[in-house]
Amino acid sequence: MEIKVIRKVLDVNNTMAEQNRKMFTEKEVFVLNVMSSPGSGKTTTLEKTLSYIIPEIKSAVIVGDICTSNDANRLATTGVSVVQINTDEFGGDCHLAAHVVEKAACNLDLDAIDLLIVENVGNLVCPAEFDIGEDAKIVVLSVTEGEDKPVKYPLMFRVCDAAILNKIDLLPYLDYNREEVLNNIRQVHPEMPVFELSAKTGDGFTPWIEWLKSRVKRKI
Protein backbone atom coordinates (compact mmCIF):
# COMPACT_ATOMS: atom_id res chain seq x y z
CA MET A 1 0.00 0.00 0.00
CA GLU A 2 1.46 3.31 -1.07
CA ILE A 3 0.97 6.41 1.05
CA LYS A 4 1.65 9.74 -0.60
CA VAL A 5 3.81 12.04 1.47
CA ILE A 6 5.27 14.83 -0.73
CA ARG A 7 7.42 16.69 1.78
CA LYS A 8 10.75 18.41 1.44
CA VAL A 9 13.32 16.54 3.50
CA LEU A 10 14.71 19.86 4.69
CA ASP A 11 11.28 21.24 5.59
CA VAL A 12 12.22 21.78 9.23
CA ASN A 13 15.32 23.76 8.33
CA ASN A 14 13.55 25.74 5.62
CA THR A 15 10.74 26.73 7.98
CA MET A 16 13.21 27.80 10.65
CA ALA A 17 15.19 29.77 8.05
CA GLU A 18 12.05 31.63 7.02
CA GLN A 19 11.40 32.50 10.66
CA ASN A 20 14.95 33.81 10.96
CA ARG A 21 14.51 35.84 7.79
CA LYS A 22 11.38 37.41 9.21
CA MET A 23 13.12 38.22 12.49
CA PHE A 24 16.15 39.73 10.73
CA THR A 25 13.89 41.80 8.49
CA GLU A 26 11.90 43.11 11.45
CA LYS A 27 15.15 44.08 13.13
CA GLU A 28 16.48 45.58 9.88
CA VAL A 29 19.59 43.46 9.94
CA PHE A 30 21.30 42.35 6.74
CA VAL A 31 22.63 38.80 7.08
CA LEU A 32 25.60 37.56 5.07
CA ASN A 33 26.40 33.83 4.94
CA VAL A 34 30.10 33.30 4.20
CA MET A 35 31.13 29.87 2.94
CA SER A 36 34.31 28.23 1.66
CA SER A 37 36.52 25.21 2.10
CA PRO A 38 38.71 25.26 5.23
CA GLY A 39 41.64 27.65 5.02
CA SER A 40 40.62 29.72 2.01
CA GLY A 41 40.60 32.81 4.18
CA LYS A 42 37.08 33.47 5.47
CA THR A 43 38.23 34.71 8.86
CA THR A 44 41.06 36.81 7.45
CA THR A 45 38.75 38.32 4.81
CA LEU A 46 36.18 39.14 7.47
CA GLU A 47 38.76 40.72 9.79
CA LYS A 48 39.87 42.99 6.96
CA THR A 49 36.32 43.66 5.81
CA LEU A 50 35.24 44.70 9.31
CA SER A 51 38.18 47.07 9.58
CA TYR A 52 36.90 48.86 6.47
CA ILE A 53 33.19 49.03 7.32
CA ILE A 54 33.03 49.78 11.03
CA PRO A 55 31.90 52.09 12.55
CA GLU A 56 29.84 53.10 9.49
CA ILE A 57 28.12 49.70 9.33
CA LYS A 58 27.40 48.37 12.79
CA SER A 59 28.26 44.70 12.62
CA ALA A 60 28.35 41.44 14.53
CA VAL A 61 29.61 37.99 13.64
CA ILE A 62 28.50 34.42 14.24
CA VAL A 63 31.28 31.91 13.70
CA GLY A 64 30.65 28.25 13.15
CA ASP A 65 33.46 25.87 13.82
CA ILE A 66 33.59 22.20 14.57
CA CYS A 67 35.40 22.58 17.88
CA THR A 68 37.69 25.57 18.49
CA SER A 69 37.18 29.25 19.26
CA ASN A 70 40.27 30.56 17.45
CA ASP A 71 38.29 32.36 14.76
CA ALA A 72 36.02 34.01 17.31
CA ASN A 73 39.03 35.33 19.20
CA ARG A 74 40.57 36.70 16.00
CA LEU A 75 37.36 38.42 14.96
CA ALA A 76 36.72 39.83 18.43
CA THR A 77 39.88 41.93 18.12
CA THR A 78 38.05 44.04 15.52
CA GLY A 79 35.78 45.24 18.33
CA VAL A 80 32.49 43.72 17.11
CA SER A 81 30.36 41.25 19.04
CA VAL A 82 31.20 37.68 18.12
CA VAL A 83 29.22 34.56 18.95
CA GLN A 84 30.99 31.27 18.50
CA ILE A 85 29.02 28.13 17.71
CA ASN A 86 30.73 24.81 18.05
CA THR A 87 28.72 22.51 15.86
CA ASP A 88 30.13 19.65 17.89
CA GLU A 89 27.35 20.23 20.41
CA PHE A 90 24.93 19.66 17.56
CA GLY A 91 26.45 16.42 16.36
CA GLY A 92 29.60 17.73 14.68
CA ASP A 93 27.67 19.01 11.72
CA CYS A 94 29.44 20.12 8.60
CA HIS A 95 27.23 23.18 8.19
CA LEU A 96 25.26 25.69 10.26
CA ALA A 97 21.58 24.88 10.34
CA ALA A 98 18.94 27.58 10.71
CA HIS A 99 18.02 26.71 14.30
CA VAL A 100 21.67 26.95 15.33
CA VAL A 101 21.93 30.43 13.83
CA GLU A 102 18.72 31.43 15.58
CA LYS A 103 20.10 30.31 18.91
CA ALA A 104 23.34 32.23 18.35
CA ALA A 105 21.48 35.35 17.20
CA CYS A 106 19.61 35.37 20.52
CA ASN A 107 22.92 36.22 22.17
CA LEU A 108 23.28 39.38 20.08
CA ASP A 109 21.59 42.75 20.34
CA LEU A 110 20.01 42.80 16.88
CA ASP A 111 18.66 46.32 17.45
CA ALA A 112 22.21 47.60 17.69
CA ILE A 113 23.49 46.20 14.38
CA ASP A 114 22.93 46.60 10.64
CA LEU A 115 24.96 43.66 9.46
CA LEU A 116 25.26 40.15 10.80
CA ILE A 117 28.00 38.09 9.22
CA VAL A 118 27.85 34.32 9.58
CA GLU A 119 31.11 32.49 8.98
CA ASN A 120 29.90 29.02 8.08
CA VAL A 121 31.77 25.77 8.68
CA GLY A 122 34.57 25.20 6.16
CA ASN A 123 33.02 22.95 3.52
CA LEU A 124 31.98 23.49 -0.11
CA VAL A 125 29.18 20.93 -0.12
CA CYS A 126 26.74 20.94 2.78
CA PRO A 127 26.38 24.63 3.67
CA ALA A 128 25.15 25.27 0.13
CA GLU A 129 22.04 23.21 0.84
CA PHE A 130 21.07 24.80 4.15
CA ASP A 131 19.25 28.10 4.15
CA ILE A 132 19.84 30.03 7.39
CA GLY A 133 17.60 33.01 6.69
CA GLU A 134 20.36 35.10 5.15
CA ASP A 135 20.00 37.93 2.63
CA ALA A 136 23.08 36.99 0.64
CA LYS A 137 25.46 34.08 0.38
CA ILE A 138 29.07 34.44 -0.68
CA VAL A 139 31.79 31.91 -1.34
CA VAL A 140 35.48 32.52 -0.74
CA LEU A 141 37.83 30.62 -3.01
CA SER A 142 41.58 31.02 -2.73
CA VAL A 143 44.08 30.77 -5.54
CA THR A 144 45.80 27.88 -3.75
CA GLU A 145 42.77 25.62 -4.21
CA GLY A 146 43.05 24.93 -7.91
CA GLU A 147 41.06 26.29 -10.84
CA ASP A 148 38.46 23.54 -11.03
CA LYS A 149 36.59 24.02 -7.74
CA PRO A 150 33.66 25.97 -9.23
CA VAL A 151 32.85 23.15 -11.66
CA LYS A 152 33.44 20.48 -9.01
CA TYR A 153 31.08 22.16 -6.56
CA PRO A 154 28.53 23.78 -8.87
CA LEU A 155 25.74 23.96 -6.28
CA MET A 156 27.85 26.19 -4.02
CA PHE A 157 28.72 28.53 -6.86
CA ARG A 158 25.13 28.55 -8.13
CA VAL A 159 23.50 29.48 -4.82
CA CYS A 160 25.93 32.31 -4.03
CA ASP A 161 25.34 35.97 -4.84
CA ALA A 162 29.03 36.84 -5.06
CA ALA A 163 32.38 35.09 -5.03
CA ILE A 164 35.66 36.25 -3.57
CA LEU A 165 38.86 35.01 -5.16
CA ASN A 166 41.30 35.39 -2.28
CA LYS A 167 45.08 35.32 -1.78
CA ILE A 168 45.91 37.03 -5.07
CA ASP A 169 49.13 38.22 -3.39
CA LEU A 170 50.36 34.64 -3.92
CA LEU A 171 49.82 34.64 -7.69
CA PRO A 172 53.47 35.44 -8.55
CA TYR A 173 54.53 32.26 -6.74
CA LEU A 174 51.99 29.88 -8.29
CA ASP A 175 51.28 28.35 -11.67
CA TYR A 176 47.73 29.47 -11.32
CA ASN A 177 45.57 30.11 -14.32
CA ARG A 178 43.45 33.04 -13.23
CA GLU A 179 41.55 33.21 -16.51
CA GLU A 180 40.62 29.56 -16.18
CA VAL A 181 39.12 29.91 -12.71
CA LEU A 182 37.21 33.05 -13.71
CA ASN A 183 35.93 31.19 -16.74
CA ASN A 184 34.83 28.25 -14.60
CA ILE A 185 32.97 30.55 -12.23
CA ARG A 186 31.36 32.32 -15.17
CA GLN A 187 30.21 29.01 -16.64
CA VAL A 188 28.53 27.94 -13.45
CA HIS A 189 27.05 31.32 -12.53
CA PRO A 190 27.45 33.84 -15.35
CA GLU A 191 25.74 36.72 -13.59
CA MET A 192 27.64 36.52 -10.28
CA PRO A 193 30.16 39.22 -9.40
CA VAL A 194 33.66 37.98 -8.56
CA PHE A 195 35.97 40.04 -6.36
CA GLU A 196 39.66 39.28 -6.72
CA LEU A 197 41.47 40.36 -3.58
CA SER A 198 44.07 39.66 -0.96
CA ALA A 199 42.86 39.54 2.61
CA LYS A 200 46.49 39.78 3.63
CA THR A 201 47.42 43.00 1.85
CA GLY A 202 43.99 44.55 1.36
CA ASP A 203 44.50 44.67 -2.40
CA GLY A 204 41.28 44.63 -4.39
CA PHE A 205 38.98 45.30 -1.43
CA THR A 206 37.34 48.48 -2.75
CA PRO A 207 34.79 46.87 -5.15
CA TRP A 208 33.96 44.19 -2.60
CA ILE A 209 33.38 46.70 0.20
CA GLU A 210 31.22 48.81 -2.11
CA TRP A 211 29.14 45.80 -3.09
CA LEU A 212 28.65 44.80 0.54
CA LYS A 213 27.80 48.30 1.72
CA SER A 214 25.28 48.84 -1.04
CA ARG A 215 23.61 45.51 -0.30
CA VAL A 216 23.40 46.34 3.41
CA LYS A 217 22.08 49.85 2.79
CA ARG A 218 19.44 48.58 0.42
CA LYS A 219 17.93 46.66 3.32
CA ILE A 220 18.36 48.84 6.41
Partner: protein, 116 residues
Protein backbone atom coordinates in the same frame (compact mmCIF):
# COMPACT_ATOMS: atom_id res chain seq x y z
CA UNK B 1 28.89 14.51 4.41
CA UNK B 2 25.60 15.60 5.88
CA UNK B 3 23.84 12.48 4.68
CA UNK B 4 23.46 11.32 8.30
CA UNK B 5 21.40 14.39 9.15
CA UNK B 6 19.37 14.02 5.96
CA UNK B 7 18.72 10.33 6.62
CA UNK B 8 17.52 11.27 10.10
CA UNK B 9 15.05 13.77 8.66
CA UNK B 10 13.81 11.19 6.17
CA UNK B 11 13.20 8.70 8.96
CA UNK B 12 11.34 11.30 11.01
CA UNK B 13 9.12 12.38 8.14
CA UNK B 14 8.45 8.83 6.95
CA UNK B 15 7.69 7.56 10.45
CA UNK B 16 5.25 10.37 11.12
CA UNK B 17 3.53 9.61 7.80
CA UNK B 18 2.49 6.10 8.79
CA UNK B 19 -1.28 6.31 9.30
CA UNK B 20 -2.62 5.69 12.79
CA UNK B 21 -3.33 2.03 13.44
CA UNK B 22 -0.81 0.87 10.85
CA UNK B 23 2.27 1.25 12.99
CA UNK B 24 2.82 -2.51 13.04
CA UNK B 25 2.82 -3.01 9.27
CA UNK B 26 6.42 -3.08 8.01
CA UNK B 27 7.43 -0.25 5.67
CA UNK B 28 8.79 -1.79 2.50
CA UNK B 29 9.98 1.26 0.64
CA UNK B 30 10.52 4.99 1.00
CA UNK B 31 10.38 6.85 -2.30
CA UNK B 32 12.58 9.91 -2.69
CA UNK B 33 13.32 12.42 -5.39
CA UNK B 34 16.87 13.74 -5.35
CA UNK B 35 17.92 16.41 -7.82
CA UNK B 36 21.23 16.02 -9.58
CA UNK B 37 22.17 19.49 -8.37
CA UNK B 38 21.45 18.67 -4.74
CA UNK B 39 24.38 18.01 -2.45
CA UNK B 40 23.31 14.47 -1.63
CA UNK B 41 25.22 11.40 -2.74
CA UNK B 42 22.60 8.63 -3.16
CA UNK B 43 24.89 5.78 -2.11
CA UNK B 44 25.97 7.44 1.13
CA UNK B 45 22.39 8.39 1.84
CA UNK B 46 21.28 4.77 1.42
CA UNK B 47 24.08 3.65 3.68
CA UNK B 48 23.17 6.15 6.42
CA UNK B 49 19.50 5.30 6.11
CA UNK B 50 20.22 1.62 6.52
CA UNK B 51 22.15 2.22 9.75
CA UNK B 52 19.86 4.82 11.28
CA UNK B 53 16.64 2.96 10.51
CA UNK B 54 17.58 -0.04 12.64
CA UNK B 55 15.05 -0.34 15.48
CA UNK B 56 12.66 2.08 13.82
CA UNK B 57 9.47 1.21 11.88
CA UNK B 58 11.57 1.70 8.74
CA UNK B 59 14.11 -0.97 9.56
CA UNK B 60 14.86 -2.97 6.42
CA UNK B 61 12.92 -0.61 4.16
CA UNK B 62 14.36 0.08 0.76
CA UNK B 63 15.29 3.69 0.06
CA UNK B 64 14.26 4.17 -3.53
CA UNK B 65 15.91 7.25 -5.01
CA UNK B 66 14.71 8.77 -8.24
CA UNK B 67 17.44 11.08 -9.54
CA UNK B 68 15.95 14.19 -11.12
CA UNK B 69 17.92 15.76 -13.99
CA UNK B 70 18.82 19.44 -14.00
CA UNK B 71 16.38 21.27 -16.24
CA UNK B 72 16.94 24.91 -17.12
CA UNK B 73 14.98 27.60 -18.91
CA UNK B 74 16.50 30.69 -20.50
CA UNK B 75 14.99 33.97 -19.32
CA UNK B 76 15.87 35.61 -22.63
CA UNK B 77 14.83 33.17 -25.35
CA UNK B 78 12.76 30.72 -23.23
CA UNK B 79 14.76 27.75 -24.52
CA UNK B 80 14.59 24.71 -22.23
CA UNK B 81 17.29 22.07 -21.93
CA UNK B 82 18.87 19.50 -19.62
CA UNK B 83 22.15 20.44 -17.98
CA UNK B 84 24.60 17.53 -18.01
CA UNK B 85 27.85 19.42 -17.48
CA UNK B 86 28.51 22.27 -15.05
CA UNK B 87 27.71 24.91 -17.67
CA UNK B 88 24.79 27.10 -16.70
CA UNK B 89 24.47 29.21 -19.83
CA UNK B 90 21.70 29.07 -22.40
CA UNK B 91 22.50 26.43 -24.98
CA UNK B 92 20.63 28.41 -27.59
CA UNK B 93 21.55 32.08 -27.10
CA UNK B 94 24.43 31.89 -24.55
CA UNK B 95 22.56 34.08 -22.05
CA UNK B 96 23.59 33.72 -18.42
CA UNK B 97 20.15 34.65 -17.18
CA UNK B 98 18.55 31.27 -16.64
CA UNK B 99 16.10 29.60 -14.30
CA UNK B 100 16.71 26.17 -12.79
CA UNK B 101 13.38 24.40 -13.19
CA UNK B 102 14.35 21.12 -11.58
CA UNK B 103 17.40 19.39 -10.19
CA UNK B 104 17.49 20.71 -6.63
CA UNK B 105 14.84 18.33 -5.24
CA UNK B 106 15.27 16.60 -1.94
CA UNK B 107 11.72 15.37 -1.44
CA UNK B 108 9.98 12.37 0.05
CA UNK B 109 7.17 11.44 -2.32
CA UNK B 110 5.66 8.37 -0.67
CA UNK B 111 6.10 5.40 1.60
CA UNK B 112 4.98 1.87 0.79
CA UNK B 113 3.64 -0.47 3.45
CA UNK B 114 3.70 -4.23 3.08
CA UNK B 115 0.44 -5.65 1.69
CA UNK B 116 -1.16 -8.12 4.02
Amino acid sequence: MHEMGIAKQIIEIATSSIPGGMEDIPVERVNLKVGKLSSVVPDSLRFCFEILSINTPLSGADLNIEVVPILARCNECKFEWTINEPIFMCKNCKSGSIEIISGRELDITSIELENK
